[in-house]
Amino acid sequence: MMSFLEMGGYAVYVWSAYGVTLLVLALNILTVFLDDSKTTAP
C-alpha cells in the first residue's frame, strides 16, 4: 500500500494533480448546488 502511495517518488505531483481535479470538479458542483437552493428557497 505504501509503495502505491509513493507513486515511484512522484507522489507529490500525481496526488496534487488528482487533488486539484477533484477540488475543481467539487467546486463546480457546489456553485450549482448553491444556485439551485437559492432559486427554490423562497
Partner: protein, 230 residues
C-alpha cells in the same frame, strides 16, 4: 416547430429525469477509470509513475475542446433561430469549459515539473490551452457585462462563433511558432502505440468527465428555466 414555451415544458422534466443518470454514470465511470489508471495500467518505461497524471490531464484537455464545440453549436442555433434552451446552455457552459481548461493547465504543469524540471514550458499544446483559457475568460466577461439575459446570450454566441473560426488558426500558428523555437514536447507519452490498459483508462475518464458535464449543464439549465419563469 415547437413554440418556445412548449419546448421548455418538454425539456424541463426530461432534463430532470436524465440528470441522475448522468450523475451516477460520472461517479461510476470515474471510479473505474481511476482504478484502471492508478492500479491496472503498467508503469511507463520512460516516466515511471508520473505519467499517471495523464489520466486527468488528457481528458480535461479533450473536455475543454469538446465543451467549446458544444458551445459553438448552441451559438449557431441561437444566431439562426432564437431558442431559450440553447441560450441558457451556452451561458452556463462557459464556466465549466473554463474550469476544465484551467485543470488542463495545472495538471500539465504538475506533470511537466518532474519531466522538464520547470513548472511551465511554452510548449505548443500548453500555449494553445492557455490561449483557449483566455478565450473562455473573454466569453465569461462578455456574458457578465451585459445585464439583459437574451442580449448577453446573443453577444456571447457571436463571440463564440468568431472564436471557433479562430481556434484552429491559433492552434496552427502556435504549433508553427513553437516548432521554430522550442524542442518537440514530451507529451507523446509512450508514443503512438499506447498501452491498451492506458487507453481504456483514458477513455473511461473521458466518458466520466463528459457525463459530469452533461449532469451539471442540465442542472444549470433547469435552474435558469425556473429562475426565468418567476
Amino acid at each position: 416547430m415547437i413554440k418556445h414555451y412548449d419546448s421548455l415544458k418538454i425539456f424541463y422534466p426530461l432534463a430532470g429525469r436524465l440528470m441522475p443518470w448522468f450523475g451516477w454514470a460520472f461517479a461510476l465511470l470515474g471510479i473505474f477509470g481511476l482504478y484502471w489508471g492508478l492500479f491496472l495500467a503498467p508503469i511507463d518505461a520512460v516516466q515511471g509513475e508520473a505519467y499517471r497524471i495523464m489520466f486527468v490531464h488528457v481528458p480535461s484537455a479533450w473536455m475543454s475542446l469538446m465543451i467549446y464545440a458544444v458551445m459553438t453549436i448552441c451559438a449557431i442555433t441561437i444566431l439562426l433561430r432564437r431558442s431559450k434552451i440553447a441560450e441558457y446552455w451556452l451561458l452556463s457552459s462557459s464556466s465549466i469549459g473554463a474550469s476544465f481548461t484551467f485543470l488542463t493547465l495545472v495538471t500539465g504543469s504538475l506533470w511537466g515539473r518532474p519531466m522538464w524540471g520547470t513548472w511551465w514550458v511554452w510548449d505548443a499544446r500548453l500555449t494553445s490551452e492557455l490561449i483557449l483559457l483566455f478565450v473562455y475568460l473573454g466569453i465569461i466577461a462578455l456574458g457578465n457585462a451585459i445585464p439583459e439575459k437574451r442580449k448577453a446570450a446573443q453577444a456571447v454566441s457571436m463571440l463564440t462563433v468568431v472564436g471557433s473560426i479562430n481556434l484552429p488558426i491559433i492552434k496552427f500558428s502556435v504549433d508553427w511558432w513553437t516548432t521554430l523555437h522550442q524542442p518537440a514536447s514530451i507529451f507523446r507519452a509512450g508514443g503512438s502505440a499506447i498501452h491498451p490498459m492506458m487507453l481504456t483508462a483514458l477513455l473511461l475518464m473521458a466518458a466520466s468527465f463528459t457525463c459530469y458535464y452533461f449532469w451539471l449543464i442540465l442542472w444549470r439549465v433547469r435552474i435558469q428555466i425556473r429562475e426565468n419563469k418567476q
